[in-house]
């Protein structure tokens, strides 16, 4: 175990604990950025996909993981961001302006939704947002002049400084574009968590009454959280649109919403790592399943006919297993393993056990 001797307040403010950790987190993006040299085009595409999901996961993590507001409607904001981006580009706005704008517009859309939605708590908010996700399908179809309705939209590539970045033509450049967005969003997220606003999110999640007594305006805090969450999700949606190339009203179904929520639960609620780890699982599981299905088929000499709903069935089972056995997700498991080694042989089984609080002052409201 490394003992850190703190001599400076900055040591608590910096996002890294020590030099060692900083080195690791500097090497990681460099290794990932070099992926076009050590991965073939297919897996590079998969990695891009994982990163896009991770950005969407970061978006939902702000709201669900840190502010404690469960949303099952984030596919609607993915769709909003995606369409906003493409419509703006088609209107002649250059990508470098259209893309940030798409996120900001999604954030504003999110606030509009949040005003009525945030009067609801817990499961009711989840139901409300789920309805939103289902409605989005119809909204896209009905606003055909803008969205192209059922026939959808198509986007080839985008131009950055007169340079065409295309998912198929130049997969490496598209990958770097996505990586840049992911890194910037992550850095913003880290900063958020070490400043008053991020802490007020956590405060609103853990105890609304005492957050209020500390001067945190709950309604406003939740609204900002919703706005940030939707803006980031909008960017993920815009990238998803570019990645898919073609999309219509069915691309961003309510299943995507559920998958997003599953992703952050599996990864570990309330941590930035969780969004990335969850994205890796969600991103690679379909490939893993189809590969293992062939093996299993070959093993029993059976056919490799697609079983409908297999993917979602397995996703569901994984989710249930996580909620039952590891509510803190993959990141939580990693923390436990690390603590076990750090404290060996003094690790106690209940070290991470969360206490149930039976007495809650919330009842006075």
């Amino acid at each position: 175990m490394r003992i850190i001797f703190k001599t400076n307040y900055m040591q608590d403010i910096r996002p890294w604990k020590d030099r060692h950790q900083l080195t690791l987190y500097l090497i990681l993006p460099i290794v990932v950025a070099a992926a076009p040299w050590w991965l073939d085009d297919f897996y590079l595409g998969e990695l891009t996909n994982v990163l896009i999901w991770a950005i969407a996961g970061l978006g939902l993590m702000v709201l669900t993981g840190h502010t404690g507001q469960v949303s099952l409607g984030h596919a609607a904001f993915l769709a909003f961001g995606c369409y906003a981006n493409v419509v703006l580009i088609e209107a002649g706005v250059p990508f470098l302006i259209a893309f940030p704008l798409a996120g900001i517009m999604t954030g504003i859309a999110g606030v509009t939704v949040a005003i009525p939605a945030l009067r609801l708590h817990g499961i009711y908010l989840a139901i409300f947002t789920m309805a939103l996700s289902i409605l989005m399908d119809d909204i896209i179809v009905l606003s055909e002049p803008i969205t192209g309705g059922v026939s959808g939209k198509y986007i080839g590539g985008v131009e950055i400084f007169g340079h065409l970045v295309d998912r198929w033509g130049t997969p490496d450049q598209f990958f770097w574009l996505v990586l840049t967005v992911a890194v910037l969003v992550t850095l913003g997220y880290i900063n958020l968590l070490r400043t008053p606003l991020g802490r007020s999110f956590i405060a609103a999640r853990d105890s609304e009454v005492s957050a209020q007594a500390m001067g945190v305006d709950i309604a406003r805090t939740k609204m900002i959280s919703f706005a940030l969450s939707c803006a980031v999700t909008g960017w993920a949606g815009a990238l998803m649109g570019l990645f898919a190339g073609a999309f219509n009203n069915e691309t961003f179904s309510v299943l995507i919403s559920i998958q997003l929520l599953m992703m952050i639960v599996i990864g570990g609620l309330g941590s930035i790592h969780g969004a990335f780890l969850g994205a890796i699982v969600i991103g690679f599981l379909p490939q893993f399943l189809s590969i293992s299905k062939e093996y299993v088929g070959a093993l029993f000499g059976g056919n490799t006919v697609a079983i409908p709903g297999l993917e979602f069935g397995i996703f569901g089972m994984i989710l249930i297993a996580f909620i039952l056995f590891e509510p803190m997700g993959i990141y939580g498991r990693w923390l436990k393993i690390r603590t076990w080694f750090e404290l060996f042989p003094f690790y106690r089984k209940d070290m991470f056990k969360r206490q149930k609080s039976y007495l809650k002052t919330e009842r006075l409201r």
Binding site: Y9, M10, D12, I13, G188, N191, L192, R194, T195, P196, L197, G198, R199, S200, I202, A203, R205, D206, S207, V209, S210, A211, Q212, A213, M214, G215, V216, D217, I218, I224, L228, G270, M351, K353, R354, Q355, S357, L359, K360, T361, L364, R365
Partner: protein
């Protein structure tokens, strides 16, 4: 000068009168205790100050401001901090983070400068840390500063809650049963701390407490309540020997 004024405050829940025409004043720099049997309306008085409830009649003034004009989240900005009877900490955050939330009312940065972590955000964070570290030193929380609340024992949580309230830099500190569930030793510690909070930090303390030892040891004036109404107000000795108070606790001699 009176810091907090309650004037003819009445609050009813349905047919139940929780606070009945209550008037009292808390002077600046004193420790003021509210005692009374369960259901006397003591915590309701706190929740009225925190603006969780609106009184039917009456006025609550703090430091020449009408408290009834502000939102629940605006009370802290005037310099009122509180603890809760059932401990309301941010469970899944460390002690340090909990205390830093207490600094929220001093926030000067905005969304953009925080996301970019500009020099002004950095300066603000350093100031916050300095203030918080002083409180950690004051209440002897060094050993627990980086621990999660969910792993802390009850006695420590009680202290962390006081620490978080102090981190807001309040003028008035509301302590809702600071010694409930504490051991004799911890209660003694709490007594010295309350004394120090008043003497060293110059913070006025208003507390609800059942432990008469603590109340008479630390408070300047005591308000005794029963069924939402004022029974007696005076020094601890006066209140303890007041016939109406004895009657409320022990019943009438037949």
């Amino acid at each position: 000068m009176s810091l907090l004024e309650f004037e003819n405050v009445t609050l009813k829940f349905g047919g139940l009168t929780a606070v009945d025409d209550l008037s009292f004043e808390v002077q600046e720099g004193e420790v003021f205790a509210i005692v009374g049997p369960n259901g006397a309306g003591k915590s309701t008085v706190f929740n009225l100050i925190s603006r969780f409830y609106d009184p039917f009649v009456g006025s609550i003034r703090f430091d020449n401001h009408d408290l009834l004009q502000v939102k629940p989240s605006g009370v802290a900005a005037y310099g009122v901090a509180r603890t809760f009877q059932n401990i309301e900490l941010f469970e899944h955050a460390t002690v340090l983070q909990n205390l830093l939330v207490g600094r929220h009312r001093h926030r000067r940065t905005n969304l953009i400068s925080e996301i970019l972590f500009t020099p002004s955000a950095r300066r603000q964070e350093l100031e916050n840390r300095e203030k918080v570290e002083q409180i950690i030193d004051f209440l002897d929380l060094q050993a627990n500063r980086d621990k999660m609340i969910s792993g802390l024992p009850y006695g420590v949580r009680k202290v962390v809650e006081v620490a978080r309230a102090l981190a807001t830099d309040p003028k008035l500190l509301l302590l809702d049963e600071p010694a409930s569930g504490l051991s004799v030793e911890e209660t003694t510690d709490m007594r010295w701390w309350i004394d120090d909070i008043r003497r060293q930090m110059g913070i006025t303390v208003l507390m609800v407490e059942h432990d008469m030892g603590l109340v008479s040891g630390v408070s300047d004036r005591v308000l005794a309540m029963a069924d939402g109404a004022k029974l007696a107000l005076g020094t601890p000795v006066e209140v303890q020997s007041h016939p109406a108070v004895i009657e409320a606790y022990l019943g009438k001699a037949s």
